[in-house]
């Protein structure tokens, strides 16, 4: 799927993506219009603590980036990619920081750097998160950009920007649609 097309509807209770959906997405490019933010977008900005009573992506998406105001929230919902500066997702280890973006229809986050817990949570919920400072510097808010996870390329009007592809172990988790879907499939197979 190439970006700018119909938005994927958020998954069910705590769900992220189906394995086939993720594999297909990784095999092709993913992306679309971007929302560009600055440095240090922390987890309190992504999803304030008072909303952690939910783990439903759709419910969480309603409050994603609420501290930045309704204008940013509307732009987030219209975007497929979040572009950000340094230390994206710093602060708490809350997984909902990733889930709320998935619920808002975000397919990928391209940042200069990620905080450790956010990066882990993104991988484990199959939200593509890549560090590509060159792309971040080159694109403007509202630009279209596409991420090719397999080949490690962010493509935009500004050109093609390379990033280090995921190690095999992490790529497998993302391809499986996240840690829990991967484990669910394993358990299903074990049961025959």
């Amino acid at each position: 799927m190439t970006g700018g097309s119909a938005k994927r509807s958020p998954g069910g209770f705590g769900a992220s993506r189906t394995p086939s959906e993720s594999a297909e997405r990784l095999a092709s490019r993913l992306g679309g219009r971007c929302l560009k933010l600055g440095d240090d977008v922390n987890t309190d900005i992504l999803i304030p603590g008072r909303y952690l009573v939910s783990i439903d992506p759709a419910e969480l998406a309603e409050h994603a980036m609420e501290p930045l105001g309704p204008d940013v929230q509307a732009r987030l919902k219209a975007a497929e990619v979040v572009v950000a500066g340094r230390n994206f997702g710093g602060g708490s280890a809350r997984e909902q920081a990733s889930t709320c973006l998935i619920g808002a229809g975000i397919q990928a986050v391209v940042a200069v750097s990620f905080a450790r817990a956010f990066f882990r949570n993104a991988i484990n919920t199959a939200l593509v998160a890549v560090e590509c400072p060159e792309a971040v510097a080159a694109v403007q808010d509202g630009d279209e950009l596409h991420v090719d996870v397999e080949h490690g390329v962010v493509a935009a009007a500004s050109g093609e920007h390379a990033f280090a592809p995921y190690p095999e172990a992490l790529r497998r988790i993302v391809e499986a649609g996240g840690l829990i879907p991967a484990l669910a499939r394993e358990l299903e197979e074990a049961r025959g």
Binding site: A15, D40, I55, R86, E95, R116, A117, N124, L179
Partner: protein, 420 residues
């Protein structure tokens, strides 16, 4: 074999692999999985795993801290879910809402040991480094996966070595030291790194002070913090009921490779504060005027603005209010917000002293934090030590105020009393 850092040695132990290098990804077996009131998210996530079983129920540790006690029926329902799940599934390490702060409860009761790998659904799980364990924060999905598989993927981190030389001056605390470090290195200065604290000053620190170092290492973006275990650690563990034969200490090798070595001279340090809006916007306290604006901002950024001075708003808190540093500025800044009174289950000793010396009325009343809801109208009699809750009509009896301290309060504090 080349010289290895603590993190490399620990992840070799936890994964059973040899020759690991930073950047490698391993499947590790944590010794303990800590979850707080967020445990309900793990229990709900299990519903997505057909035919799940718990690999090591004895490694699951739940502490009902964070959203505790429940303020809403929904939160109470989450607590009940956890309680029943623990009961049904033979989870013996279960501490309920009254137990205290999750990390302290587990460390103080002998659940955390040197050389172990501990994961927790809290970013500050780095605190377990104070006992020489590798503690790190994870999301609820991965914690749930560990419940079922007993394993989790881990990246072997690079390490930063912090050498603490000299001695902290009086009234300067490990908190100040860490804030200075966070200000110098930045909030992402140690992203994905293991931060080891070494040097003469660390050896003289208590476990509680070491907790501050390791807890705040996370604010540098660290995966984990670490203090080499020594006799101070042994004494703490002995008190927690853990015998020396029950753990195997891991120390970094001489000559191990560090990404960065940071030398800190404790002698010249002053108290520091982190100013809005990032944790690395750190300044010496003297440069910061009007501290009242920042009081309790981590709990509620609007706290200072929301205090209704005319109404004499009462701040209600749980156990050990004001613990850690003995800084009088904590009470002065709180008083400057216009809060009329503080009622808590218990106070740290220094805060209790400071409150009277500054002239801020406080009442110690065990159980008040559970009995009172936010927004209730309270009538406090500091002299009698009573609190009447107008919503319930109930009067709670706490600790009456000593006549000497009452005089100090009426005079407006210690200095005012001495001048009078």
């Amino acid at each position: 074999m080349s010289a290895r850092t603590f993190a490399v040695k620990q992840l070799e132990r936890a994964s059973g692999e040899d020759g690991l290098r930073p950047g490698d990804i391993v499947t590790a077996e944590p010794n303990l999985y800590m979850s707080h009131t967020a445990s309900w998210r793990c229990i709900k996530t299990l519903e997505r795993l057909p035919g799940w079983t718990l690999r090591h129920p004895e490694r699951i540790a739940m502490v009902m801290d964070h959203v505790s006690p429940a303020r809403t029926p929904k939160a109470a329902g989450f607590h009940r879910l956890c309680r029943e799940f623990a009961d049904t599934n033979g989870i013996e390490t279960f501490y309920d809402v009254e137990a205290g702060i999750s990390h302290l409860v587990l460390m103080g009761n002998g659940h955390i040991r040197p050389g172990q790998l501990i994961i927790g659904t809290d970013s500050h799980s780095t605190i377990y480094g104070a006992l020489g364990a590798l503690g790190t924060g994870v999301g609820y999905s991965e914690l749930t996966a560990a419940w079922v598989t007993g394993t989790l993927w881990m990246k072997v981190p690079e390490s930063i070595r912090v050498e603490l030389g000299g001695e902290l001056p009086p009234a300067v605390h490990p908190m100040d030291l860490m804030l200075k470090l966070i200000g110098d290195l930045g909030a992402d200065g140690a992203t994905y790194c293991s931060v080891e604290f070494h040097g003469g000053h660390v050896a003289r620190m208590s476990v509680s002070q070491r907790m501050t170092l390791c807890n705040l290492a996370m604010e540098l973006g660290a995966k984990c913090g670490y203090v080499p275990p020594d006799e101070v650690t042994d004494a703490y563990l002995a008190e927690a009921g853990v015998a020396p034969g029950d753990y195997e200490v891991l120390l970094p090798d001489e000559g191990a490779e560090y990404r960065q070595v940071v030398d800190v001279d404790c002698d010249g340090l002053a108290p520091h504060v982190a100013c809005p809006h990032t944790v690395d916007n750190v300044r010496p306290i003297d440069e910061v005027a009007g501290t009242a604006a920042y009081v309790l901002e981590d709990a509620n950024p609007r706290f200072a603005r929301e205090v209704d001075v005319a109404a004499g708003d009462v701040l209600v808190a749980g156990r050990h209010f004001g613990q850690s540093s003995g800084r009088a500025i904590a009470v002065k800044a709180l008083a400057a917000t216009g809060v009329g009174c503080v009622v808590a289950d218990s106070f740290a000793r220094t805060f209790y002293r400071n409150a009277f010396e500054v002239g801020l009325p406080i009442v110690e009343l065990e159980g008040v934090s559970a009995a009172v809801c936010e927004g209730d109208e309270l009538v406090v009699d500091a002299e009698a030590g009573t609190v009447r809750d107008e919503r319930t009509g109930e009067t709670l009896q706490g600790r009456p105020t000593d006549p000497f301290l009452l005089d100090m309060l009426r005079a407006g504090g210690l200095i005012a009393m001495r001048r009078a």
